[in-house]
């Protein structure tokens, strides 16, 4: 536990040691706002909720989360510090969790900085704050799933750009798998259970059901087990890639 916390602290402060953290935070908050107000017709909808805000999160994460996760292992491998890290008395689990949790905490900070949205909607009307809280929880969980994918794939390469592109593509697949367009494409020839399976992997459907204010155990399990799976794959990948 102690060592996870030490690695966590180093990783989190690594974000803030370069301007990247601040650039990221500004862009995230700015884009989240623009999308909600402009594309989401926040005002025109005339409803006191944050649906128009949350509905753009998957698309925002698609670009921004891989930018956060791409350095986690690729940088260690390029700089050779991975050798330093794994000859210290830490286990693979501690290292993987410490890094992942640091990136997740950073997204939590970014998400928390969107609080003016919440203030605005409370000032303008009388929203259901329980639903909004559920939206934040769902968004954070989804961000965790995006991050787990990105962290895992960043162990695949020394090149951060490659890590970014790979993560964005895989994340896109997870987002798109619930789209009618995609399901129709598979529905034409694939057996129904397969189509259902593909659809059930969609981030969108699980996220949307949470943002409606219902935190269903199944959605929680979906995101948590997805995170666990990708982090496990991450550990396997690091072990396999060591010394190569």
């Amino acid at each position: 536990m102690d060592k996870i916390a030490i690695i966590f602290r180093r990783e989190l402060s690594a974000y803030f040691m370069t301007p990247i953290a601040y650039v990221f935070l500004v862009i995230f908050v700015f884009l989240a706002g623009i999308f909600a107000f402009d594309l989401g017709d926040f005002f025109a909808r005339g409803q006191a909720d944050l649906v128009s805000f949350f509905s753009f999160h998957p698309w925002l994460y698609l670009v921004l989360i891989p930018a956060l996760s791409m350095r986690l292992w690729a940088e260690e491998r390029r700089g050779g510090t991975i050798e330093l890290l794994f000859t210290l008395p830490v286990t693979m689990t501690q290292a993987v969790l410490g890094k992942f949790l640091a990136a997740w905490a950073f997204t939590a900070i970014a998400l928390a900085l969107t609080f003016p949205m919440w203030i605005t909607v409370n000032y303008l009307g009388d929203p259901d704050n329980g639903v909004i809280l559920a939206g934040y929880v769902g968004s954070l969980l989804m961000a965790g799933a995006f991050l787990a994918i990105g962290t895992c794939l960043s162990a695949l390469t020394r090149n951060q750009v490659i890590a970014f592109v790979l993560s964005a593509v895989v994340c896109l697949a997870f987002v798109m798998s619930g789209f009618p367009m995609v399901l129709q494409f598979f529905g034409d020839w694939a057996p129904a259970p397969l189509v259902a399976a593909i659809s059930s992997f969609s981030f969108l459907s699980h996220f949307n059901s949470i943002t409606k204010g219902v935190i269903d155990l199944r959605d929680l399990i979906f995101f948590v087990s997805l995170i666990a799976f990708w982090l496990f794959a991450n550990a396997v990948l690091i072990e396999w890639k060591k010394g190569r």
Partner: protein
């Protein structure tokens, strides 16, 4: 004597290439073992297995009683390791970096501060503590890497090319540091610079193509050199042929080579069994009344041994 590191029949393959092929040796407390070999011989791969970074395909590493495969955390906590090129987190400062290392090594509060201060003092990096490590010179980076390796006062120190790319002054400093610590630790350092072995090592292991080819003290290895115990004699005012004849008649002398310059002659005398001829030659010169301008015993050059050993295997 107490074996601190025991390496038993390590094998590591990368695809079709066998990088390390059955390497075994043990290192005792107080020993500084020079791990030599041409580039690509398997030195770094061996060290990566000894420090627990890579898992060997077969074989075993025991560090002060702990098997690194079975109890990696316990074994790693006894090792200080400087990886090749001394990798550091570029955007961290030495102060932040050493604090991270000290924390992960389990030091807290006042003890952590004491350890960090002492190691900063020891490697002399007090002036650059708050600069990002990526902006530091090579020498300083190496020192920060060394600081990280010795912070927890480990019983076993593994240094992969600690002096590679340093200037002569910096090399000297690193050697002094190693010598200071040598008595109470077991140290393994890899190098392809042979003067290094003469300077700091009490023992040398030569590997090539993943196999141990020689293992002994630097003096033992030197004794295998071609020119070992050859004596170079310079004489003035002596007829060349007379000198050659007299030297050639000495017991044990196998070969006398000579060159002549304006006012002196130079002879190189070799014994068939590489025995020491210097006493006999000195005695001869005295009884003959020769004017000796030079009398040198060749110790044998390590690099010629190194070349012989690693080349014939190729």
């Amino acid at each position: 004597m107490e074996a601190m590191v025991e390496i038993d029949a390590l094998v590591k393959r990368f695809g079709p290439i066998t990088a390390v092929d059955g390497v075994s040796f043990a290192v005792q407390r107080g020993e500084v073992l020079g791990f030599l070999g041409p580039n690509g011989a398997g030195k770094s791969t061996t060290m990566k297995m000894v420090t627990g970074f890579l898992t060997p395909d077969s074989g075993r590493v025991t560090v002060v009683g702990d098997d690194i495969g079975k109890r990696p955390v316990a074994a790693k906590s006894r090792i200080g390791y400087l990886p090749e090129g001394a990798p550091l987190y570029g955007d961290m400062t030495p102060a932040g970096f050493l604090d991270f290392i000290a924390a992960i090594r389990g030091f807290k509060g006042a003890e952590r501060k004491r350890r960090i201060d002492s190691v900063i003092d020891r490697v002399n990096i007090g002036g650059v503590l708050n600069q990002p490590t990526e902006t530091l010179s090579k020498g300083f980076k190496r020192r920060v890497g060394l600081a990280q390796a010795i912070l927890h006062d480990p019983e076993v120190l593994i240094l992969d090319e600690p002096n590679d790319g340093l200037d002569p002054n910096q090399k000297h400093e690193v050697r002094l540091l190693i010598q200071e610590m040598a008595a109470e630790k077991a140290i393994v350092l890899s190098t392809h610079i042979l003067e290094e072995v003469d300077a700091v090592c009490t023992r040398a292991v030569i590997i090539s193509q993943g196999k141990v080819l020689a293992d002994g003290t630097p003096a033992e290895l030197q004794a295998q050199a071609d020119g070992h115990n050859q004596v170079h004699v310079g004489l003035r005012g002596v007829a060349l042929e007379a000198a050659r004849g007299a030297l050639g008649a000495l017991q044990g002398v196998d070969r006398v080579e000579s060159t002549e310059s304006e006012d002196e002659i130079l002879l190189t005398v070799s014994a068939g069994d590489r025995g020491d001829l210097s006493g006999a030659i000195g005695g001869l010169a005295q009884s003959e009344g020769w004017l000796v301008t030079r009398l040198e015993v060749e110790t044998g050059r390590l690099d010629s041994v190194f070349r012989d050993i690693t080349r014939t295997e190729g």
